[in-house]
Amino acid sequence: MSAHAHNPAVLHHFADAEQQKESATLGMWLFLATEVLLFAGLFLVYTLFRWKVPYVWVKESYLLGITLGGINTAVLICSSLTMALGVHAAQEGKKKALIGWLLATMLLGATFLGVKAIEYHEHWEHHKVPGLNFTYTVPYDNAHPYKVPEQQVFHFLYFCMTGIHGLHMVAGLSILTVIAIMAYRDKFSTTYYTPVEMAGLYWHFVDIVWVFLFPLLYLTGNHYTGGH
């Protein structure tokens, strides 16, 4: 029927490569819109409780410490840079550079998950894992000398939000692995690199979620001075 029948990268049901690329891009953005609303539910719960019990939020946030979270933030922002450079390399058809940047991105992503695991382990040692091992800090403070259930809620939300974000990181790493293998097998060219771009979009999205999680969870208690 037309010339595209010879281009193996264009699937049977698309009219041409451009239509295929535009479809993939729109589909990815719609998927990210879904993801935004998924996280929005968690942010809503966070906001409501923070408004209800701000003093709990400040103190429990303080307990998280900012060192490891801060390192992770830097790691992820760097990984966004390497990802962007990877997409750029794909556009220019530089296979080696593409694979290199992808591996760098994956390394940074794995570092993030490793640091996160260390943090989770610390929370376990500090008895701050709701449902499994949780100890209330009692007396809470001078103004609120009793244990309040919202203490657990903070850490519960912390684990839900960072946990779901972590799952997205794992998914992102798997996607990047596939993309790297595809790149190694010469599946991409200067005219066809849509999967790299889509993986990049997803990766940036997961990074941006963290950019919101970090201040909300870690920095809220940064000015806590230990009671009134």
């Binding site: 535009e22 539910g41 409501l48 519960f156």
Partner: protein
């Protein structure tokens, strides 16, 4: 009429044989069939639960079920009918089949994702099976906290996870439709030349994409809360049950439009074909779908007037709930205006459409009763609510679904269903429906609460009427199942365009679509529903001649 006694040699149904050609297919038309079979099973499962409920309510003291079994039955009925039948009904079956055909494409944008969405649906359905086998669920389909967090002894976690999983099937279908409609329209198919079903499905898909994830995360929170014993929603642990209701209805009100909007699209298609007229005010009907989708996101609070909400919030929600009735009314008035001076024929799909118009109007107007804060104090959680949403969901959405299935059956199977049986069962369905649900308006107004397995003896007469109606309704549902199955083998071979309808799916595909839909990509040169304007008397003459033949006539040479 050119007699066509044989189907074409090659078409999508005989393109491959064996279970692999079905279970691993990426053809949107076959996936539509996978969904059709699955949701039909779910429909009869949910219907069976409903039938037990009605049997129980035959007598004031309820002889059939234990109280907790009764609770499990209405929960099962709600969960199955809403999440496993109504939400996927039209989009996943007719939508999957028709969207590529209507835009003039070979398939949906992401055929593999389309297949995955069916598998996700099946995984969700297996969760439901697991729940039934492990003793049922008694929280009601809304999973309200703290019933679902602290008090339920049943398998809530499985149910919430099932709904969570299922949500992604719905999201992926919506995503596929939006991309297909945006990017894969055939040359000449501009936005305002699209069939109104596509507009409706587009609006539906927006809701599916933007609302479903909120339900998903809510379900996750309920499950994790049960596991960890932490109070997000449970007041005993410091949680906020009203927050649950807000998050639940943020999805579940728009979900009502996921269920009814595609039905509205089907109505537009069918009514224009059987009135032989372009839908009156096409652009208004098209845009009203989007208006419904947008406003639908802003009214969820009308489910919570008595849950603890400030009167100002209540008034706002009430006002917007009234506003959302406007685009629905625009549609209803325009459909009625389409009939005006049309040349209307009363084949089965049209009978369902006429049933829809009446029942949807009653359902919609009683919705306004419930949207007003004062009256809702009296009517909340009574049978009035049950009657209202069954008028919308069964009288509206299911009627439209049946209209669509009958209308496109010749295209889906290459065969006609038996018309006389079709008309008969449409009538039975309508009568059974009115008898089942109209008494419930009165019962609710008199104060009979929903979800109780017993009631005061004064209510018995109306309950008996309702139960009697439900048996007629059941007949009306079983009949199409039987004759549709029959027609798969014995139905008369259908011509390419038995209704002489407009639209690419009729005009450019042959008697039954080939595996890749169109031999050549079609080009669209005219508006949707461009039925030729001819003197009514002439059409009537032709139709009378056609009746003598026992089949709707082919209309005019100019078609």
């Amino acid at each position: 009429m050119t007699p066509e006694n044989a189907l074409p040699k090659e078409h999508y149904l005989n393109h491959g044989y064996g279970w692999k050609s079905w279970l691993l297919t990426t053809d949107h038309k076959r996936i539509a069939w996978l969904y059709l079979v699955s949701i039909t099973l779910m429909f009869f499962l949910g219907g069976f639960a409903a039938f037990l409920i009605r049997l129980q309510l035959l007598t004031p003291q309820g002889e059939i079920l234990r109280n907790d079994t009764y609770n499990k039955m209405f929960t099962m009925h709600g969960v199955v009918m809403i999440f496993f039948f109504l939400i996927p009904s039209i989009p996943a079956t007719l939508g999957n089949f028709l969207v590529p055909l209507m835009v003039g494409a070979k398939d949906l944008a992401f055929p593999k994702i389309n297949l995955i969405s069916w598998y996700i649906f099946i995984i969700g359905a297996l969760y439901v099976l697991w729940i039934i086998l492990s003793g049922g669920l008694e929280t009601g389909w809304t999973f309200y906290t703290p019933y679902s967090t602290s008090y339920s002894t049943s398998n809530v976690t499985a149910a919430t996870l099932g709904v969570f999983v299922l949500g992604f099937s719905s999201i992926l279908t919506g995503l596929n439709f939006i991309v297909t409609i945006h990017k894969m329209r055939a040359p000449g198919m501009t936005w305002f030349r699209m069939p109104l079903l596509l507009w409706a499905l587009y609006a539906t898909s927006l809701i599916q994409i933007l609302a479903t994830p909120v339900l998903a995360i809510t379900m996750v929170l309920v499950a994790v809360e049960r596991f960890a014993g932490v109070g997000i929603f449970d007041p005993a642990l410091g949680g906020d049950p009203i927050l649950y209701q807000h998050m639940f209805w943020f999805y579940s009100h728009p979900a009502v439009y996921i269920m009814i909007l595609p039905g509205m699209g089907v109505i537009s298609e069918v009514i224009s074909c059987f009135a032989r007229k372009r839908v009156f005010g096409y652009k208004f009907v098209a845009v009203s779908s989007l208006m419904i989708a947008v406003f639908g996101f802003l009214v969820w609070g009308h489910h919570m007037y008595v849950s603890g909400m400030s009167p100002y919030a209540g008034m706002t929600f009430s006002l917007i709930s009234y506003l959302v009735a406007v685009p629905s009314a625009v549609k209803t008035f325009n459909w009625t205006a389409t009939l005006y001076k049309g040349s209307v024929s009363y084949d089965t799909p049209m009978l369902y459409v006429l049933g829809f118009l009446g029942l949807f109007m009653v359902g919609g107007l009683t919705g306004l009763f419930l949207a007003s804060m004062g009256l809702d104090q009296h009517l909340h959680d009574t049978y009035f609510v049950i009657a209202h949403f069954h008028f919308i969901m069964v009288g509206g959405a299911v009627m439209a679904y049946f209209a669509g299935i009958h209308f496109w059956w010749p295209k889906m199977t290459g065969r006609m269903y038996p018309e006389a049986w079709g008309r008969l069962s449409a009538m039975i369905l309508f009568i059974g429906f009115i008898l089942t649900f109209f008494p419930q308006f009165i019962l609710g107004y008199m104060g009979m609460p929903r979800r109780y397995s017993v009631y005061v003896p004064e209510f018995q007469t109306l309950n008996v009427l309702s139960t009697a109606g439900s048996t007629i309704l059941a007949v009306g549902y079983v009949m199409p199942l039987v004759y549709m199955l029959w027609s798969l083998k014995y139905g008369e071979i259908a011509p390419a365009n038995p209704w002489r309808a407009k639209g690419l799916e009729w005009e450019a595909t042959g008697p039954i679509p080939a595996w890749d839909n169109f031999p050549v990509t079609p080009t669209v040169t005219e508006d949707a529903y461009n039925y030729p304007q001819r003197p009514v008397a002439e059409i009537e003459r032709e139709r009378a001649a056609g009746r003598a033949e026992g089949r709707m006539p082919e209309l005019a040479s100019g078609d």
